[in-house]
């Protein structure tokens, strides 16, 4: 059952895409990430032009995030104020990111920057998460007491001006760190075709010190806002959103996200983090590998005209 995609201008197997959407949606709902970091490389491997994959994915991520955010909202696990502040930074970031990506494509270096970003960011985040979660799993096995929680938050978090109260997260901090974080994630989201959850979630836990319970829901909420914006920008600016591709992916995605959100309550938090860390590391290494292997053909055709 093949479908011709009107914007990507290639033919794809529809059931395969729906299944793929469901699998990634499941992971998305389970870990509170958009799942873009998984989906973009897979779509590109399937032969969909990277520009179309990145742009169409944004709306798939928005759909599966909406689907799971509603569940998290019912559980009162979304800090809307924090999400809004992050999204304000994210909006600026995605506008910048779309322009940066256009420029990179013009220079012919988009492939390199995308592969390097995957290798560096996924490598670092995956590595850190894996060490941390394996540590706590081992401690729990041995019955050691958890290390004393370092409640001393970094002083710069408190020293900065423009403080705002975030009751849901029990925080009273400056809005500057969340805005900068959102900005950074927004740029990455446009360049790498990801929602940015894999960076947001750890940053919210370790840098902003938000309570674990609200991190996932809030991250998803901010992802909806940034990806919605990215999607409209990519359609308006580059005409690279393929509505058929996005729809096929999101049919599976929204269902998968629901099942994932349900399944996540069956696992312990550190086990979840360890699994996610492995997935993140594997994808980062796979994308980075291409930089070091001798290419089969020394020449490469670039799609589009900039």
């Amino acid at each position: 059952l093949d479908f011709y995609l009107p914007i990507a201008e290639i033919s794809v197997n529809a059931p395969l895409l729906v299944a793929l959407g469901a699998a990634v949606g499941f992971i998305s709902g389970m870990f509170g990430i958009g799942g873009g970091f998984l989906m973009t490389p897979i779509l590109v491997l399937m032969g969909i032009p990277p520009a179309v994959a990145v742009a169409s994915l944004a709306s798939h991520v928005a759909a599966s995030s909406t689907s799971s955010v509603i569940s998290y909202t019912r559980a009162r696990a979304v800090d809307f104020r924090m999400g809004g502040v992050l999204a304000a930074g994210g909006a600026m970031g995605s506008v910048m990111g779309v322009e940066v990506f256009r420029w990179l494509r013009l220079m012919g270096q988009a492939d390199l920057v995308v592969a390097l970003s995957y290798l560096i960011f996924l490598g670092i985040i995956g590595g850190l998460m894996l060490t941390e979660s394996l540590g706590s799993i081992l401690r729990a096995r041995r019955g050691d007491p958890p290390p004393p929680r370092r409640d001393r938050r970094p002083p710069w978090l408190y020293g900065l001006p423009l403080k705002l109260r975030f009751p849901r997260s029990r925080l009273y901090i400056s809005v500057i760190p969340p805005i900068l974080l959102g900005l950074f994630v927004g740029v990455l989201s446009a360049v790498m075709g990801v929602g940015g959850g894999f960076i947001l979630v750890p940053a919210m836990v370790y840098v902003l010190r938000m309570p674990a319970g609200v991190v996932v829901g809030t991250s998803l909420f901010q992802i909806i806002i940034t990806t919605t914006l990215t999607s409209v920008l990519q359609a308006g600016r580059n005409q690279t959103v393929d509505i058929v591709l996005a729809t096929l992916l999101l049919i599976g995605g929204v269902l998968g996200a629901q099942l994932g959100a349900k399944a996540s309550s069956r696992f312990r938090a550190e086990e979840l983090r360890a699994i996610l860390a492995l997935i993140v590391l594997a994808v980062g290494l796979r994308m980075g590998l291409g930089l070091f292997l001798t290419p089969a053909d020394p020449f490469v055709l670039m799609t589009g005209n900039g």
């Binding site: 009107p6 729809t247 049919i251 670039m302």
Partner: protein, 257 residues
């Protein structure tokens, strides 16, 4: 001066070729999986001399951006991309025999018959300068590698199924009646195509015929494509609305279940 004589010998009856396509418009719908167009043609030659037929199909022109992978510090990166112009988005020759047996280099070059004779150029890389005392020499910045770049364009297009040479692609099905099949891959570009049918005798083109056809999106595919390009912002809003609505619907459905 004598006027040119016209009555020395009766001129040999001119051979002619005629051809038609089974389809003049290929419709790209959601089930599009490439297409096959059949070309039928006939040769009218009272002298019944030995004839060869070459069919050249060209798709709409598409500039090609190509980069070379270079190794820097153990990492493969792309060089600066080079733009080649004049490359058709689809190109295929079919003939009764290998082209170089049918006609000479100059004849083929003038017709643009055969991938080697395609006028693919990288004008942005060229500059005119004086070398060895010769003025107005066209020099490519790609230098000696120029041919390698050009070959790479052809090779990559061939592996995508967009360029092809078939030296047995024209077959005679009956006396004076020939047939050729043109296979368009799914990635064939949208636009106007031109099939040029050339009859060769004794290494010279004696008769030509041109048949045009189009590849176009129809129905929903066309509507979406036009929507995306003519009203991109509304298109973006529409696709996001679908996404958010689908997310909400799934969540509502699961809550009830």
């Amino acid at each position: 001066m004598l006027p040119a004589t016209v009555d020395a010998a009766p001129p040999p009856p001119q051979a002619a070729v005629s051809a038609a396509l089974t389809t003049t418009s290929v419709r790209v719908t959601s089930g599009f999986h490439g297409a096959r167009i059949v070309l039928y043609g006939a040769i009218f030659d009272p002298a019944a001399g030995p004839s060869d037929v070459v069919v050249i199909v060209r798709g709409p022109e598409q500039p090609v951006r190509i980069a070379r992978k270079i190794r820097v510090g153990g990492v493969w990166i792309n060089s600066r991309p080079v733009v080649f112009r004049g490359a058709p988005g689809f190109y295929r020759t079919a003939s009764t025999r290998p082209l170089d047996q049918i006609a000479g280099f100059g004849v083929l070059r003038r017709l643009g018959a055969g991938i080697d004779h395609l006028a693919i150029e990288a004008p942005d890389e060229q500059r005119v300068e004086t070398r060895y005392g010769v003025r107005d020499m066209v020099v490519s910045r790609l230098g000696a590698d120029y041919l390698e770049w050009r070959q790479a364009v052809v090779r990559l297009k061939q592996s995508a199924g967009l360029y092809d040479t078939d030296d047995q692609g024209v077959v005679f099905v009956d006396r004076g009646l020939f047939k050729s099949e043109i296979d368009l891959p799914t990635v064939a570009p949208i636009g106007r195509y031109r099939a040029q049918i050339v009859l060769f005798q004794h290494g010279q083109p004696v008769s030509q015929r041109v048949c045009d056809f189009t590849v176009e999106k129809v129905g929903a595919e066309r509507a979406l494509y036009v929507f995306a390009h003519e009203r991109p912002w509304s298109y973006g809003l529409a696709s996001v609305t679908i996404a958010l609505a689908a997310g909400w619907a799934a969540s509502a459905a699961f809550r009830r279940a």
